[in-house]
């Protein structure tokens, strides 16, 4: 749920990066953090296990400029992708304004992608959200790896809604900011329309 602070002239929105384990959600945030002007970002927080797998969430506050004198502040979160952390994923989805679904392009991760997408739908429904209505984009990550599915296959399998979709190599930054900008824009359009 976005939060508009009139006295401080700020609009806060929450974007969640969702997807199966090891698909590159944290890598997206790390790239954004490393390549953003220091004045536009806060500290990135990662609640991770000793082996650097996300345990609860990653968090990155980011400012994307001003709109009508209001600073736009986006709070980017990732969820833990591993299947058994579902209780944590539900908590992080609370009050979400926009979602980036990060899919792993590797052929042997297709089942994990589908499972995660189903899980997203279930978790959103449990909180009264409709996956079909929430601002969302899809990122096909790891395009540089061998044995990846074709774009057509990914699209057919994961994007029946015809959402905006982006190819990415998050480790090198390809597609990362394009994805973020697209979802942020959708959030604002929805905010304006829903108001």
């Amino acid at each position: 749920m976005s939060f508009i602070n009139v006295p401080t002239r700020e609009i806060h929105c929450k974007i969640v990066y969702y997807g199966p384990g090891l698909c590159g959600k944290t890598t997206n945030l790390q790239y954004i953090y490393a390549h953003t002007n220091p004045n536009a970002k806060g500290k990135m927080i990662s609640l991770a296990t000793e082996t650097d797998r996300t345990l609860f969430f990653d968090f990155l506050p980011l400012s994307l400029g001003e709109i009508r004198g209001f600073r736009t502040r986006f709070h980017l979160y990732t969820v833990p992708g591993q299947v058994f952390y579902n209780a944590s994923r539900k908590l992080i989805l609370k009050a979400v304004d926009g979602i980036v679904f990060v899919a792993d392009s590797q052929i042997d991760r297709m089942e994990a992608n589908l499972e995660s997408l189903d899980n997203l739908q279930e978790n959103l429904a449990e909180q009264g959200y409709d996956l079909l209505k929430i601002p969302m984009v899809i990122q096909y990550n790891k395009r540089d790896l061998p044995y990846v599915a074709s774009l057509e296959e990914l699209h057919e399998l994961l994007n029946p809604r015809q959402l905006q979709e982006f190819e990415a190599v998050a480790t090198k930054g390809a597609g990362v900011f394009e994805t973020l900008k697209a979802v942020a824009k959708l959030v604002f359009i929805e905010l304006k329309r829903g108001h």
Binding site: S2, F3, F59, H75, A95, Y129, P135, K181, F188, L191
Partner: protein
Amino acid sequence: MSVPQVMFDEEFREIQSICDRLFRDSNARVVFIVDKNGQPIAASGETENLDITSLASLTAGNIAATGGIAGLLKENEFTTQFHEGERSNVHIQIVAQRVIMVVIFDQRSSLGLVRLRMRKASEELSRVLSRLLRKAQTPGVTSPLDQITEEDIENLFGD
């Protein structure tokens, strides 16, 4: 998508003044108020060297996780939490099921004093929040979103 929460000038001033008063009366190091989604609302005290944005997000995550535990135990919620450190202690309280009040204190204060002052502050805060909620739902109250055009959105993201 849910309706955005809006904070108005009058209520913001009152919440800030509750925060300031609690800071003074409890001999705290820092007092801050965040909403349950992790958005910082107000802060008082020695905030210069503190990353309030991160603290707000982690506090909200903490409350969300504790709420999850409460749910599994068939409890409605656990309204307070206390963390004891070597130099700093943190007392956290949910107010009106909507916002989180956090007091960070050291040996200059005590848990008893903090709890006592928080109780009064949470009653006051609760009243302001109820009014804020009614105001936000009143037809005719303008929000900044009214003035934002699609062109503004394009300009923000066009590079």
